[in-house]
Symmetry: C2
Subunit: 345 residues, 2 copies
């Protein structure tokens, strides 16, 4: 029986199926299926007839049915901390460029930096049977790990390194990056170095490691009394500005501020402008991430650059290899980072 319900009365018309296309082209459904997935197996004239039928009927394959039967959804699910912050966007772009080439789609969701929310998202994702999963960072709840273990699909964590990934991890050492940056401030003669970092020092690996790296560098330099010069703020310009105010209240002799992100650092710079503080003469400021604003703000910001786009590509490549049944060379990939010295130090 035909699929159309009633084209005259305008009743809801269901989208056409392979069966409709097959009838139109005078072949069996399986041939249509083959034309779509493995055209080489179908003789050229037949293929042409099928393609014409598809075209004229405006047939769109139903990936839901395909996924059910083939047990491959063609979806890679990614949990990122926040779509708002452009820092993840480049990673996502890198992933997408690789995944699209492999015919895979990226399903995105943001956790708002909360491991609990991440767990809920992973649970929701798994119900859609993704072929692979991408997680940001290495801080996850026990529930998340358990579900992913049970799901038995490739998982890549990205952004920060760990010795014990759920499956695979690609990133750089946030600890070393922060340590390098702070050591650089020390080398340049700064002695009263403040820290303005984003909230989450206790539970988000990335933030925690940046904090730890900073502290280690201070300790190595014999500069004590860390806690007094450390402020936790929201990841925003406003946060940076408030952080500087707080620090100056505590220590008027401050001569440098280490910030855990460019956004916070630029917030500090704005506050310096308002207060008439000379950068870097009176106060040195450093960021992290090398976002566009770092090179454009005045004075231009010294920061740390990490290969975000490449990280996304690499993560996706590792997932794809696993999906093709090949072994990946390493389950822990360190992409490193660079310090970018500009005018604020």
């Amino acid at each position: 029986m035909p699929n159309a319900v009633d084209s005259v009365s305008g009743t809801q018309q269901a989208p056409s199926r392979m069966e409709d296309v097959a009838r139109c082209a005078g072949v069996s459904v399986i041939t249509v299926s083959r034309v779509l997935r493995d055209p080489g197996k179908v003789a050229a004239p037949t293929r042409a007839r099928v393609l014409t039928a598809i075209e004229t009927m405006g047939y769109v394959p139903n990936l839901i049915a395909r996924s059910l039967k083939s047990r491959r959804s063609g979806i890679v699910a990614a949990v990122i901390p926040s779509v708002t912050h452009s820092i993840v966007a480049e990673v996502v772009r890198g992933m997408r460029d690789v995944l699209n080439e492999a015919g895979l789609h990226l399903l995105l969701a943001d956790s708002g930096f909360s491991p609990q929310e991440e767990e809920a998202l992973v649970a929701a994702f798994l119900a859609r049977r993704p072929d692979a999963i991408y997680l940001t960072g290495t801080t996850h709840t026990a529930g998340t790990r358990k579900m992913l273990d049970a799901a038995r699909i490739p998982v890549v964590e990205a952004g920060n390194l760990t010795d014990a990934p759920i499956d695979m991890v690609v990133g750089y050492s946030n600890l070393e990056a922060a340590r390098t940056m702070t050591r650089d401030l020390v080398t340049k003669g700064r002695r009263s170095i403040g820290y303005v970092g984003q909230v989450g020092r206790d539970y988000i690996d990335r933030v925690r490691d940046r904090h730890a790296g900073h502290c280690i560098a201070l300790r190595d330099a014999g500069l004590g009394d860390h806690a007094r010069l450390q402020v936790e703020v929201e990841l925003s310009f406003r946060g940076g500005a408030a952080g500087l105010g707080e620090l100056l209240d505590r220590e008027p002799g401050l001569d440098a501020v280490f910030c855990t992100s460019d956004i916070i650092a630029v917030g500090v710079l704005f506050e310096c402008q308002r207060r008439g503080i000379a950068v870097p003469a009176q106060l040195a400021v450093t960021g992290m991430d090398d976002q566009e604003i770092a090179s454009q703000c005045v004075p231009a910001l010294t920061t740390i650059r990490m290969p975000r786009y490449e990280m996304g590509r690499r993560a996706a490549t590792m997932l794809c290899r696993r999906l093709e049944g090949e072994a990946v060379d390493a389950t822990v990939v360190d992409l490193g980072f660079d310090i970018v010295t500009r005018q604020t130090t």
Copy 2:
């Protein structure tokens, strides 16, 4: 036969199915299904037994199979111009908040501001049979419109208004917003007003309308020779800086710059700092969008605020109503905008 392949040899173990849960709980599969979707129809003791079984087996429902049978995927697909630009993030957040409440998932993809890419994405999306579609802006290819007409699902376009939406539209008038902003500059005595806008004036409705609004305001004020003082740049700080340089080369007596986004405007401000141009004494600068940086930069930026989060919520609400078979009150929803006067004008 049981679903497990071989738990001893560690062979790939398929996830458990309803059948497994049903056997474990001593009920039929349909009862498990009911417990999940309509618990009220199952007696409390039975329900408890099933829930226990689900818990112990770590059962995760297969939404692919559910979608196939129920003909509802539970997915709302959204094409946004770019995940990078935080401006869309709030809209997305608004949508998500509403959709999640309705048990729907958001599938995101970015078009990179290209209508052709958007068409490809819509085609890919439709194969997954989304329940509804969200598009950014009102500029779409004929192919996109045709596919969406054929798909017969609710579609909402957001961001800019149009008299002839594909289905529904929610937004504000970019033309009126730009016109208001420029008129404000005129009112404040500015006469040599430059324009730095993002690329796409010819084919992206949002950009085109902002440009048109600016031109209309100039014409209304009797200020001619528009084209000479108009520059098209990338949507970036760098773009804004370059745009100002270009404008000053053409017209050293420039006394205001209208920018089509806050990012561009802040790029202009940075360049002013570098060149020692006094804002607003010597040069007035305006942005659009009211992103966080507008309130934090120095001097703080005069701009236009639009209800982005609310826009996302409203769009999602309209889609949900349609999915529930209810009629929406209006297919064109104007949310308006506000001018936010700060220190740059």
